[in-house]
């Protein structure tokens, strides 16, 4: 199976540039001159960015997808290697909530299988036209590209985003049929009073990247229904390449709040401690924390504990009920960081034997007061709690708090 269907088209909305076989060949020639096997790729949403990705994939060289605006030199240093596992195809940085930044190792088969699974449940055909709404170093953004390339569909490259006129002009001009958004973008669309009737070709909205409020799920499902289109609520994680479940739009009303059914070829079960476990051919090979890990084969055996808590109803629909605990310690006592966040307007991270919390834009006096309150709530001495004022919390592309960045700033 090839990732790039011969009929697939990629068009840059701003420049009119299109992806050609020559562009991929040229990217391949460039790669041949670079030391291998690993390909470092700060990937921009451009024709050349995609050509380099596809060239690496075609050559069977693993490609590490990085944020082109971030400082990425440390990744290249840390993972410099002359040996990799032959199955290894794509590496994403994790958005994991604790510990060191690491990579998710995806095999060629996992990437291709998941693109096929997604294309099947979303019924992607050669007449579909997607538009970029998310960065390509983010697994959801990349999966939109992969699943459309696989089916010979069209992908429009747009870089300004939904808050700008250019995006909506491109959507009309190119007859976009499908748009993918994460929860905070749905909040923005509501603010923009999004009206699908303005984009006559639009038939599908997809949602992943975290839980969307059920009120917004119903709202956008209704908006799409007025034009004969659908909202697809989905569930996944980078570790699953990344999609695991989709809620069929016709079941959206009677299964409101569910993330849907496992993708074809996948299945869910719930562990004795309520954790959602996914099984499927798209599960990662494992993580990589050092260059030596890139030589390793499959360590997961197709089984992925998701870290989410959930339940499955009698028809197989999965409902996520929470996140398995993020744990910190204060004076040797384990505390649930999520509970701290539920009770105080802060982002909490573990800091050795202290609890570190970040609060947006608070004064020194407010920080002292908050510290006292949290320590009282925990039943611990105030010296176990550190409150830091931060102008704004760092966010991941999906709008969730970037705990890794917070921990890195400790």
């Amino acid at each position: 199976m090839n990732l790039l269907h011969p009929g697939a088209r990629v068009i840059d909305a701003a420049t009119g540039e299109t992806l050609t076989a020559e562009a991929i060949d040229a990217a391949e020639a460039t790669l041949a001159a670079e030391p291998g096997p690993l390909v470092f790729h700060p990937i921009s949403t451009t024709i050349s960015g995609i050509a380099r990705y596809l060239a690496a994939f075609r050559l069977g060289r693993p490609v590490m997808l990085l944020d082109p605006e971030a400082d990425v030199a440390h990744w290249a240093e840390r993972f410099a290697t002359d040996e990799v596992h032959p199955d290894l195809a794509v590496l994403f940085t994790t958005s994991g909530s604790t510990g060191n930044p690491k990579l998710v190792r995806l095999s060629r088969e996992a990437v291709l299988t998941n693109a096929e699974q997604i294309a099947t449940v979303l019924d992607i055909g050669a007449d579909d036209v997607a538009i970029t709404t998310l960065p390509l170093f983010y697994s959801y953004g990349m999966s939109v590209l992969n699943s459309h390339l696989l089916r010979g569909a069209t992908v429009i490259l747009e870089r300004t985003g939904i808050m700008q006129r250019d995006f909506w002009t491109a959507a009309v001009e190119h007859g976009v049929t499908s748009m993918a958004f994460v929860p905070y973008q749905y909040e923005m669309l509501r603010r923009l009073r999004f009206d699908p009737a303005k984009y006559p070709a639009l038939r599908k909205l997809t949602q992943a990247g975290g839980r969307l409020r059920t009120e917004l799920i119903s709202d956008f499902a209704q908006r799409m229904a007025t034009v004969g289109g659908s909202l697809y609520v989905m569930y996944g994680t980078t570790e699953a390449a990344p999609r695991m479940a989709t809620l069929p739009p016709e079941r959206l009303t009677d299964k409101l709040g569910s993330v849907g059914l496992a993708l074809p070829g996948g299945s869910f079960d719930i562990s004795p401690d309520d954790e959602v476990v996914y099984r499927g051919p798209n599960v990662m090979m494992g993580y990589a924390e050092t260059a030596a890990d890139l030589v390793k084969g499959d360590e997961m055996g197709g089984v992925l504990p998701t870290g989410d808590l959930g339940r499955i109803d009698d028809e197989g629909f999965l409902f996520i009920t929470g996140r398995a605990k993020r744990i910190g310690k204060v004076f040797g006592v384990r505390i649930n960081l999520d509970d701290v966040e539920k009770n105080f307007p802060v982002a909490a991270v573990p800091g050795g034997d202290q609890l570190i919390v970040y609060a947006e834009g608070i004064s020194d006096d407010e920080a002292r007061d908050l510290r006292t309150k949290i320590a009282e709530w925990l039943g611990t001495h105030f010296s176990g709690v550190v409150v830091r004022s931060i102008e704004s919390l760092p966010l991941l592309p999906n709008g969730k708090v970037d705990y890794r960045a917070l921990e890195a700033s400790l």
Partner: protein
């Protein structure tokens, strides 16, 4: 504070710029801090500051400081020094 100063201040707040940063020539494409989230915050700040409700078309058209001045004019807010 003049209306012009208020608008400059709104841009600096939303885009997380220093108090003396020049903003009059800012354009969406040129400033990496001016992303979609910052744009939401900018619109909210302008709406609060000038007590206006900005229409969808104007929200997505507000792609520069100069456009913001022009659009606010439509809502009866004259940006003078």
């Amino acid at each position: 504070m003049t209306e012009l100063q208020k608008l400059r201040e709104a841009f600096r707040t939303a885009l997380d710029l220093p108090a003396d940063a020049p903003v009059d020539d800012l354009h969406y494409q040129d400033n990496e801090k001016w992303d979609s989230l910052a744009h939401m915050s900018l619109i909210a700040t302008i709406e609060d500051e000038f007590s206006v409700m900005i229409d969808t078309d104007d929200v997505i058209n507000m792609s520069s400081f100069a456009e913001a001045v022009r659009i606010l004019g439509k809502y009866g807010v004259t940006i003078n020094d």
